[in-house]
């Protein structure tokens, strides 16, 4: 490896040995998955899209002149992969119109539905919050989902998104407010929020 090291553990120039590239991918793949989660269609498979990003990562890393720009570069790849998948799905929907429900949404089986039946209330609630988070406006859901990646700092998020840290903090605060409001609405009995009776609440 040649060139000056960056905080990503990569260098500025020269080919990366396979092991270094592998390590680089392992370091970044979780937050890349979070980006995909923020942009991909609900019915898309996260691992499929991440695999696609991995292939592009390997094949195009040599084109990246400034390895310090790795995070924004990876983010762009992930967003493009998610949007291309969404476009492909929209094209396919034309042939699947009979399956659409009244709202124009696909009436495809929710892959998580089966799991929910078996899962605990805790998991059902967690999934409900995630659905709400993914439905937030783009500018807010992306930093929020990135923040949910363990170990990712606000500074790293700001580098990834190319925005000042103060902007990230403001967006995160607004995203959380929106999420709070929606969670409050879901708490009402008619909303379908997973209710639990007092008797089922376990003592701490």
């Amino acid at each position: 490896m040649t060139g000056e090291a960056t905080d990503d553990g990569s260098s500025d120039a020269g080919p990366l040995p396979a092991l270094a590239l592998d390590a680089l991918w392992r370091e970044h793949r979780r937050w890349v998955a979070a980006i995909l989660l923020a942009y991909m269609p609900r019915e898309a498979e996260l691992d499929d899209l991440l695999q696609e990003v991995a292939v592009i990562f390997v094949s195009r890393i040599g084109e990246l002149r400034d390895r310090g720009a790795l995070r924004p570069w990876l983010r762009t790849i992930a967003i493009n992969a998610a949007r291309m998948d969404a476009r492909a799905r929209r094209a396919r929907r034309v042939h699947l119109r009979p399956l659409e429900d009244q709202d124009g949404e696909m009436a495809l089986a929710d892959p998580s539905a089966e799991h929910e039946q078996l899962a605990s209330d805790t998991r059902a609630e967690a999934e409900a919050v995630m659905r709400l988070a993914r439905a937030l406006p783009e500018d807010y859901r992306e930093p929020l989902l990135l923040r949910s990646v363990q170990g990712l700092t606000q500074k790293q998020i700001s580098v990834t998104l190319g925005l000042p840290e103060t902007t990230i903090e403001t967006r995160l605060a607004r995203a959380r407010r929106m999420l709070r409001q929606q969670v409050d609405e879901m708490h009402t009995p008619r909303s379908g929020w997973p209710e639990r009776s007092a008797a089922r609440v376990a003592a701490p």
Binding site: A18, L50, Q51, R123, E127, S148, T170, L172, R176
Partner: protein, 266 residues
């Protein structure tokens, strides 16, 4: 900045565990003036916990997605030396390399089913059919003509290079097959993963090659052929596990006995 925005920022810092003493004081002042502040903190904590749990589960998928193996990339670029570095693959080729084994596994399964049925039909040996050796996706595997079940394994047995289009059967020791498990490498990676590093096994056998396509070469010298070369690998691992969920809905590894893995595949 209005009070709502200030409260949002304070709540954010509390959730991120980076609130300063001044932030805590400000929050206490808010809570005294507006009792609903506590309710907001409660909802914020609940949402954050739910989001964190869900993200842990959803994003854990990422830990299972590795870079495409070097061999795959190298195979897409004939003549390129990719040892030590990852090859630069043209984007179009790279797209085709996505999940390279999924299509091939299906093709190999069909090929094996065909080869197996042909072999059984021509050989007609009920005893050998009853050995029940099965390969990818349950298709019969052609065993070595003189291999005895339980015979000494040959770890150094090199896969025979049959060449494109050949229908010869590679020597496959049934004992090795049993040790290698009833799964092909990629499928094994899907079903379970060894504790520790990725699988890098020794090649212990090769299944019949399957011709996919052939065209006359542009320069008139021979044919350009595309074929599937399925190989069997054997590796020693410290354990096997699959990913499941515990009572709290967290992703957790669950041990798998090799026997149950074999049964699951049958």
């Amino acid at each position: 900045m209005n009070d709502d925005n200030t409260l949002d920022l304070l709540l954010g810092r509390i959730l991120d565990r980076r609130a300063s003493p001044a932030d805590w004081d400000s929050f206490a002042t808010f809570a005294q003036a507006r009792p609903d502040t506590w309710g907001q903190l409660l909802t914020a904590l609940r949402s954050e916990q739910g989001l964190q749990r869900s993200a842990d589960i959803e994003l854990s998928v990422a830990d299972l997605v590795d870079l495409p193996r070097e061999a795959t990339v190298a195979s897409l670029e004939p003549g390129s030396d990719t040892r030590g570095t990852w090859a630069a693959v043209p984007p179009r080729v790279a797209r085709r390399a996505r999940r390279p084994w999924t299509g091939w596994a299906a093709a190999a399964a069909l090929a094996l089913a065909w080869a197996g049925s042909t072999w059984l039909a021509t050989d007609g040996s009920a005893q050998r059919a009853a050995t029940g050796l099965r390969g990818i996706n349950g298709a019969p595997v052609a065993a070595a003509p003189h291999a005895e079940p339980g015979a000494a394994s040959a770890p150094d047995a090199a896969p025979s290079d049959l060449g494109p289009g050949s229908r010869d059967e590679a020597p496959v020791d049934p004992a090795l097959l049993a040790q290698a498990g009833n799964t092909a490498g990629p499928r094994l990676r899907d079903a379970a993963a060894p504790v520790g590093d990725d699988l890098h096994g020794d090649i212990v056998g090769q299944l019949p090659l399957q011709l996919v396509s052939s065209v006359a070469s542009a320069d008139g010298n021979g044919l350009d052929v595309v074929y599937v070369r399925p190989v069997l690998e054997r590796a020693r691992v410290s354990g096997m596990y699959s990913l499941g969920f515990d009572d709290a809905g967290r992703l957790s590894p669950v041990s798998i006995q090799p026997a149950s893995l074999l049964l699951a595949d049958n």
